[in-house]
Symmetry: C2
Subunit: 243 residues, 2 copies
């Protein structure tokens, strides 16, 4: 059902006539949309503006996408497709491999902070989003962790990375509207009811902040370590499920 008009990634019979008419492609539209977000923020993407950027009537996009929501799904796919875990080195320890994966996962998301913001509110049960998950599953199952535990692990792991990055981006866009030289710190401390948050103030007032990346890496390492610990102990206790 569902009007297969919108299913195909339109390679039409236009292509072989040279590049006479670039016309409109699903991919071209999505890239333009992403570009608008990257440049001016996710909230300034409108169908009308998109049409302008593509030198086309705003409504032309509706031939290729049923609505704006579908277009945004396309943008999400494009961004999530940028996650590349192929640098994985199977000779390393599992812990190390997962840490590296977390690192590149984050890096890919940080390439398009504005677009990542919209993922907070959109479905992530999509091929490009699940490809890294499938890959991580392979690593975990390879170590003898049970199906049940691997699924839990991978869910927790992927949410950790996405959630962490999402909120890092939030903080980013909060603070770079003010003094961005001192990372995230004084900007916050100043606007805070000093007497109700004595500890926060004490802890922030002399460069205690280790930086976003270091913080992420520490968190990732701790989580991975903790999960491996827990599951490793469980498996040797012998409660494997269906192999």
């Amino acid at each position: 059902m569902e009007s297969k008009k919108h299913q195909n990634f339109n390679r039409r019979h236009v292509r072989e006539s040279g590049s006479a008419r670039p016309s409109l492609t699903r991919e071209g539209i999505v890239r333009a949309a992403l570009k608008i977000m990257d440049e001016d923020g996710y909230e300034s993407l409108s169908m009308r503006r998109l049409g302008a950027k593509l030198n086309v009537d705003p409504m032309a996009v509706y031939y290729h996408f049923p609505n704006k929501s579908a277009l945004l799904d396309g943008v999400v796919e494009l961004v999530m497709g940028g996650i590349d875990l192929s640098c994985d080195d199977p000779t390393q320890t599992v812990e190390e491999r997962l840490c590296v994966a977390a690192h590149y996962y984050r890096e890919a998301l940080l390439a398009h902070p504005q677009a990542v913001q919209i993922t907070a509110v959109r479905s992530l049960n999509t091929p490009a989003s699940l490809r890294p998950v499938e890959y991580l599953l392979e690593i975990l199952l390879g170590t003898g962790i049970s199906h049940t535990d691997s699924l839990a692990f991978v869910n927790i792991f992927a949410r950790f990375v996405r959630g962490m990055v999402l909120l890092e981006i939030r903080q980013m866009t909060d603070t770079d509207s003010l003094a961005q030289e001192d990372c995230t710190l004084k900007s916050l401390g100043d606007s805070l009811p000093t007497d109700e948050f004595p500890l926060l103030h004490k802890v922030m007032e002399n460069g205690c902040f280790i930086g976003e990346e270091a913080e992420f890496e520490r968190g990732a390492r701790a989580l991975i370590h903790g999960l491996l610990d827990e599951f490793a102990n469980k498996e040797q206790a012998g409660d494997q499920d269906v192999k």
Copy 2:
């Protein structure tokens, strides 16, 4: 500066004349806004609809809030104010106390899933959001963890909880539009390119999913354990910063 008109939480000289005119309160407006979100989703909150719910001209709200964004900040404050960590039991181990805190943190957020969605995209450097953070800091500093490490710990911890819950809510609203009897699983599996995700399919097809709450609790425990491990080792290595 900043027009103190919008600063006070308007207790005006109206109150002592009995409840003759309830008129409009900042709090009343915010509660109404939250209610609309709870009932019909965050995206169906509009100034016009809010006015209707309050039996008032839509523009009346603009006397109490400079714009919709400020109103949403109010909603966020209301929801974050619902986080209550006072059930903390200092006689327990730190690990246990933090796990309990994570549990109630999550619980409070899950009370208003729709409103939590908007926090993904709004500043969280706000009193109600930081109050739990301040409290957690107290726990951590009390164990002798350094300032630097406590700050990192608390940042990671708070982001973990928020991010986790945020993405849990996303998944929730994705899946309850379809078959909601089997938790999160088949609904996903069906719409998935079966051949590209063999492991995901294998792992999901017989009830391997342990449930959202269990998953969260496991993740939280693993993270907390991992962080305590790392920092405990560090402190005894002697690199304390200013006490």
